[in-house]
Amino acid sequence: MTRRYSAFNLFREGLRGHTGWQPAWRSPDPKPAYDAVIIGGGGHGLATAYYLAKNHGMRNVAVIEKGWLGGGNTGRNTTTIRSNYFYPESVALYDFALKLYEGLGRELNYNIMFSQRGVVTVAHSEAEMEIAARIVNAMQINGTDAELLGPDAVFDKAPLLNRGPKARYPVFGGVWQGRAGVARHDAVAWGYARAADGFGVDIVQNCEVTGFIVENGRCAGVETSRGSIRAGAVGLAVAGHSGVLAAKAGFALPIQSYSLQAMVSEPVKPCLDTVVLYLGTGTYLFQSDKGEIVVGGGLDRVPSYAQRGNPPMQRTVLSGMLEMFPSFGQLKMLRQWAGNVDVVPDSSPIIGPSPLPGLFLNCGWGTGGFKSIPAGGWLMAHLIATGSHHEISRPFDLDRFATGRLVDEAAGSGIAH
């Protein structure tokens, strides 16, 4: 039975020397068969299992993770959550996720530390301001919150921004989304894991899926490093490894895997209370609750599974930071790391049936799938339980590459994932 976290329980455990806490989820051995098996114990896989149980009453479900829970991109990202996209299909998807995030801590009874501190995307010329106005208009028409800021309003949000006469990228204004923010990434994975476990979902770690059981042209389960597991339906949510598993299932995907890196500085006193992205440098940053400056940027340009990130991109990201915040030249950087992201030609995710019946896809989130974890899980659960699309996931089906109905967000909002 999952113990509720509350101020009262915390107080009581304090008096008892914290000896009564239970592990947040069990570590069961895999059963020979489930109604549904989800491959990948990242945020999307865990959320899928949770919503299968909660929304569709399916509890005979397993999540199979080759490493440890949240050890993929979910534990490596820079945690930005926003829905400032261009196309109605994208805003419907990402704003659905943002709305779910707004109630998630309470729903999961787990503190995911969601902080809606807002995101400002800064423009550096008259021409970029016109693009900014276009994106603000699109967001407002699509029913999400957006505001066009002038330069003074941008400096109010981030007073340390470079306003010197020699700025390579002067501040002309920007796009503001106030409901955007950041959350604790591990906590999102752990919260979903604990809540799914509470419904009876088996979370199996250190178990690698090595192949698929195919019967009569249908996916009937998975082969794993801990034996075969049969399943009524199988969901694939392995981010950067989608291509590897698709090959084992006998098809290819429109996905290229790249490294994406991030860096974090020593903690310093509070000096930045929003998320800032420069269109000019491609660098974005914010201050973590611990006081560290968290810095990220674009993809490495070399297709890779190395999960370490290469020095040229690191230099680009850091020089962007110095242009944006000259005073951050004082900061000591503490850590750099990379994740393995799955990039799709139109920069939008793939959610839908795969070419192998019985196997469903949730992938292609590229550099931006943390913000969408609640929606990705909800929509994949809908697919698995009903066998058909939710209206929000329909435009993201694999068939768009043949029909030509791409949702090209790189062209729409300049988001490159």
């Binding site: 995907l253 996905i255 340009r301 890779s304 590459f401």
Partner: protein, 87 residues
């Protein structure tokens, strides 16, 4: 910083190169008779292998496209050759 071997210019800084595509993709012909599924496959689908792979890169400095054999996990480059020279 890694160096990539351009078959025409020799080893150069990785920032001078751009990844173009997986090797071995040939345009389906005759184009007018090719269906949407086959076009989608040619234009978008990728093997995206984890490990040894053969790729087409462009050296942006000299403008030449060439074949590079590389490992996507270790980043080790095994070799590069001019297009058309490969078997």
């Amino acid at each position: 910083m890694q160096r990539f071997p351009c078959p025409f210019c020799g080893p150069r800084d990785e920032t001078e190169f751009h990844f173009a595509a997986e090797a071995g993709k040939t345009r389906p012909e005759p184009a007018g008779e090719v269906g949407a599924e086959r076009w989608a496959e040619y234009l978008h689908l990728k093997k995206n292998p984890k490990g040894p792979t053969r790729e087409i890169w462009v050296h942006t400095t000299c403008g030449e496209f060439f074949l590079m054999e590389r490992n996507t996990v270790t980043h080790e480059v095994v070799g590069s050759s001019a297009l058309g020279a490969e078997s």
